[in-house]
Symmetry: C2
Subunit: 518 residues, 2 copies
C-alpha cells in the first residue's frame, strides 16, 4: 500500500516539477536575445560609407558598406568607440573585461608558443608580457588566467559559436582552441592572427608545399572553389546558428572576420568598381575586402529575418584596432588611410584605436540613434553579460570594463569623468607617431599621450582636434599633470609592465614623473 | 472587457503549453540513452586480447585490450560482425544504411575531389564509382545522395559530436565536413583517411614545409607536446560530451580513432612491453597503437562513470575493415596478421571484412553475453536509430541494413536465411586472395566468393572452416548456383557496378553466369 502511494506520487511529481521548469526555461529563453558579435579585423574608423564623424569624409565616399548603414539605421552608432592598438590585446580584453595594461597580453601573440613578437630595440629591453595569451586554466606560463566571456554565456544556457579569426593564444597553449574558452562550436579559428590566403581557389593557403601555419583550418568543402574566405565564414556561421534556432536556444555568435587584415587580396565580387574609381591597386583590393565583409553582415541580417529571429537578436559591430596605415603595406601615402584621424594600427593616436561600432537591439535601442560617449573594448564583457541576463557572474579576474547597456538605452547619457587607458610598452615595429612604447589616457575631451622613448607627453582636445595636430601640453600644464597622475595611478594599480633601459636595467619613468619635469 | 479576458487566457496558456512540452521533453530525454560509437580504423578481428573466436589465439595473447574486455564483460560480443574490405565504403554504409554495392562508394575516397583511387589495371577499365563520397545535398557529381545518420539524430534532439577520422568525402565536396552530415561539433575530422603523424611533438603532421593534406586539423593546443593522437582525440571527445551532459541532452558521439591505420608509429606509453616480447619493430608499434586505442575506451568509460552517465550510455565498439596484412607494410609474414582468418584489409575473405564488435547497453543487454548471428555495417544505421527512439525516419535512400537491436536483447535469436553481400569491383592494389575485383555472399554457414579476374567461384563453410582453406565449390555445385543466383540478384537490384574489359568494353559476367558454367 505504502509503495503504491509513493509510486503514484512519483508519477505526478515529475510532471509538476518538469512542468514548472519547462515553463520557466521556455520563458527565460524567450526573453533572452541572441547575440551576434560581428568582429572585423584591422578595420579603420573611416573604412565605411557610414560617417562616424560629424561629416562625411572622402574615405566615407570611397568605401561601400550599405549593410553597416542598414545596421546603423536599425540601432545606435557609437562615434567614440575604442579598441587597443593591435589585435590580441583587444580580443583578450573583450573576452575577459580586463584592460590590456592589466591582462598584460600587450602585444599580438605569435602563432608559436613562448615567442615574443616584439621588434628588436637598442634602447629598451623587451617587457616580460603574457606572450602565450589567454588561458582558462591556471599553470600556463606567460598567460593571463581568466574566465572567458563565452564560458559564462555557455553556462548561462547560451549556445556559443565561434567562426573565423580567433588569435587568443599560440599553438601548444589552451588559448589556441576557442573550444577551451567556452565556445561549443569552432569553425576556422586557431592560433593565427591572419589568413594565409583569402581565396578558395588557393584552399585558403592549404596548398601542398606552400602552406604555412596561417593556412585557415576547417573549410575543406570550399577548397578549389570561388568562395572567398569572408563568404565561407559567413556561410559556416549561418549553418551553425541554424541549430540553436531550431532547438530554441539563445545563441552567442562570434562572427570574427579575417578581413580586412593583410594579405590584402581582392574580392572578385566587388573589386571592379574600385578599380574603375582609379584607386591604387592595393587600395582597390582593400575596398573590396571591406565590401565583402559588409555583404556578410547583410547576409546574416537577411537570414535572421528569414527565420524570424531578427527581432530577437542583438548585433554588435566592432573592429579590433584602427586601420593599417604603414606606407609599405597600404596604397596612398603613409598614414593617410584613416584621415581625419592620425596614424593607424599600432598607434595610441586616434587612427590606431578609434573604431567603428554599431549596436542593434530591437525594442531596446532606438533606431538611427547616436551615442558620443566614449567606450572601450573591455566594456564588451560586462555589456554582453548584461544583455544575456547574466548577473553577478563568477570570474577569476577583476573586471575593468563598464557595461555600455545604459548608454544604448539612453543616447543622452554621458560620463565625462571616466578615463580610458591604452598601454603599449612594446615595439610593434611600424613607424609613426604613437607607435611603439606609448601609453595614453582619455578623459572628457582631453587625451594625454606618453611617448616612452622620447620621454614626452602631448595633450590634445579630441573634440576640437580629432586629428591630434595641435599639442596643447605647454598651454595646459595642469591638465597634463592631472592626466599623467591618473594614468600613472591606473598603470601602477594594474602592475603594468614598463620597459627598462638596456644600458642600466632601470624602468622608464611613470608619466607623472615626466609631467613634473614639464 | 473582451480584451482583458483574452490577455488572462494568454497568460495561462503558455504556462500549460510549455509545462506540457517541458514534461514530455524531459521524460523523453530521460529515457533516451546517450550513444557512443567507438570506431577503430583498420583494426583486425584478432587485434585484441578479447577472443572473438571459439578459442584464444596467439594474437589474442599478444595484444592487450583490457578495456575491450571490460566492455565485453558489461555487454554483448558479436562474433560474426562484418564491415567492408576498405574504410570509406564502411563509413558511408554506416551513416546511410546502404550496402556498398548500392551506394557505389565502393573504394576509399581520395583526399582530393574527382580522383579515383583505383590502381591501374591492364585487363579491366575502372568502374565509374562515387569517387566524391557521401553528400547530404543533391547535385554533386559522383556522390551518393543520402540522409546521414547524425542528421536524423540531431533532428531527434541528440547532440551530435564527431571526433577523429571522418573520411566521408574529398576536399571541395560537402562530405569533407562532418558538420554537413549532421554533426553539430567536429573535431579533427576531414577528408583524409589517415593521419600524417600520430605525434604531438610533430604537430600531427602540421610542420612547416612537411605538412601534407593528411596533417590532422583542430588539435593545435597539443602541438609540441607528448600527447599521442589517440589521447588527444579522447580528451577532445570527453571535453565535447561534457556540454550535452551538463545541459541534460542525450548525445551521439562518433569517437572515430585514426588508430590503428598506417603510419604505424609507436605509442611511447605502451610500446616497451611489446618490444620486450621480442616482436618485430613494426608489430611492436602496432600493438602499442592498439593498446593506446584501448586506453581511450577505458578513459571514456571512466569519465561516464564519474559523471553518472555510465548507466544511460550505449557504447558500440566497431572497426571499419579487417587488419592490414600486406607484407611490405606490416611485420611478420604477409597475411599472418589476422590468423586464423584468411588475408586481411582489402579482401572479401574473412580477414578483410570480419571485425571486432561489442555493444554495451545497460539494463537492456545482459552482461557477458555473446551473439553469433552475423551482422554487417549497414545494420548500424537502423540499429542506432532504434536505440535513439527514432521510428520511421524520413530518408532519401532506401535502407538495406537491418536493426540488430533484437539480437542484442536476445542472444539466442538467429537468422540463417539472411544473406550478406560484399562487392568490390575495384583494384585496391594490394596482393592476396579476394583482394581486387571480388564479390562475396554469406548465408548461414556458407560463403561464396567471386573472383572477377579469374572468373572463379569458391565456396566455404565458415563455421567449420573459418580460415577459408577448403574450397568446396566442386562438392556442392547446387549451393554454388543458389548463392551465385542470390548474389547476382542483389547486385542487379542495386544496379551494382561491374568492371568492363579494356579490350572490348564488355562487362564481367554476373556470378550466376559463372556458376552455370561450373
Amino acid at each position: 500500500m505504502a509503495i503504491k502511494t509513493t509510486a503514484k506520487l512519483l508519477a505526478i511529481v515529475p510532471f509538476i516539477f518538469y512542468g514548472f521548469l519547462g515553463s520557466v526555461m521556455a520563458q527565460k529563453n524567450a526573453k533572452r536575445p541572441n547575440i551576434i558579435l560581428f568582429m572585423v579585423d584591422d578595420m579603420g574608423w573611416q573604412d565605411t560609407s557610414v560617417p562616424f564623424w560629424e561629416k562625411k569624409t572622402p574615405l566615407n565616399e570611397r568605401y561601400r558598406t550599405p549593410n553597416m548603414q542598414r545596421l546603423a539605421n536599425e540601432g545606435v552608432k557609437f562615434t567614440n568607440a575604442y579598441a587597443t592598438p593591435v589585435c590580441t590585446p583587444t580580443r583578450i580584453s573583450l573576452l575577459t573585461g580586463i584592460n590590456a595594461a592589466h591582462h598584460k597580453v600587450t602585444n599580438w601573440t605569435n602563432i608559436q608558443q613562448n615567442i615574443s613578437t616584439d621588434a628588436k630595440d637598442s634602447t629598451f629591453k623587451p617587457v616580460d608580457w603574457n606572450i602565450n595569451g589567454l588561458s582558462p586554466q591556471s599553470g600556463f606560463a606567460h598567460t593571463v588566467h581568466a574566465t572567458p566571456l563565452p564560458q559564462l554565456l555557455k553556462e548561462a544556457g547560451y549556445f556559443t559559436i565561434h567562426t573565423g579569426k580567433a588569435h587568443w593564444g599560440p599553438m601548444g597553449m589552451p588559448g589556441s582552441s576557442p573550444k577551451n574558452l567556452g565556445f561549443i562550436v569552432n569553425i576556422a579559428g586557431h592560433a593565427a592572427g591572419h589568413p594565409q590566403n583569402y581565396y578558395g581557389q588557393q584552399n585558403y593557403g592549404n596548398v601542398l608545399g606552400k602552406a604555412t601555419y596561417h593556412a585557415v583550418p576547417d573549410l575543406e568543402e570550399y577548397y578549389g572553389s570561388e568562395v572567398f574566405l569572408s563568404e565561407a565564414i559567413t556561410r559556416e556561421a549561418i549553418k551553425a546558428i541554424a541549430y540553436p534556432i531550431e532547438t530554441k536556444q539563445p545563441f552567442f555568435l562570434h562572427l570574427s572576420h579575417y578581413a580586412v587584415h593583410t594579405p590584402i587580396q581582392g574580392d572578385a565580387r566587388f573589386i571592379e568598381k574600385y578599380q574603375k574609381m582609379g584607386l591604387d591597386s592595393t587600395e582597390a583590393k582593400y575596398a573590396s575586402l571591406v565590401e565583402g565583409m559588409d555583404k556578410s553582415l547583410g547576409d546574416v541580417m537577411d537570414y535572421l529575418k528569414k527565420v524570424g529571429q531578427a527581432d530577437n537578436t542583438i548585433i554588435i559591430f566592432m573592429s579590433d584596432n584602427g586601420g593599417l596605415s604603414q606606407g609599405n603595406l597600404r596604397g596612398g601615402g603613409a598614414h593617410t588611410q584613416n584621415l581625419p584621424l592620425k596614424i593607424g594600427k599600432g598607434s595610441v593616436h586616434e587612427g590606431g584605436v578609434r573604431v567603428p561600432m554599431l549596436v542593434k537591439w530591437p525594442s531596446v535601442v532606438k533606431p538611427s540613434t547616436e551615442q558620443t560617449q566614449y567606450v572601450i573594448v573591455e566594456d564588451f564583457f560586462p555589456s554582453i553579460l548584461e544583455m544575456a541576463g547574466v548577473n553577478s557572474p563568477k570570474t577569476i579576474q577583476k573586471v575593468d570594463g563598464k557595461s555600455f547597456v545604459p548608454l544604448l538605452k539612453n543616447p543622452a547619457l554621458k560620463d565625462q569623468s571616466r578615463s580610458l587607458v591604452w598601454h603599449y610598452p612594446n615595439k610593434w615595429g611600424g613607424t609613426g607617431a604613437g607607435i611603439n612604447y606609448a601609453s595614453a589616457i582619455r578623459k572628457g575631451d582631453w587625451k594625454l599621450l606618453y611617448d616612452m622613448k622620447k620621454q614626452e607627453l602631448s595633450l590634445y582636445n579630441i573634440r576640437e582636434d580629432i586629428g591630434e595636430s595641435n599639442n596643447q601640453a605647454a598651454q595646459f600644464p595642469q591638465k597634463v599633470k592631472e592626466l599623467a597622475a591618473e594614468l600613472s595611478q591606473k598603470l601602477k594599480n594594474w602592475n603594468a609592465l614598463m620597459p627598462t633601459y638596456a644600458k642600466d636595467g632601470n624602468p622608464v619613468p611613470w608619466p607623472e614623473q615626466i609631467a613634473h619635469k614639464n
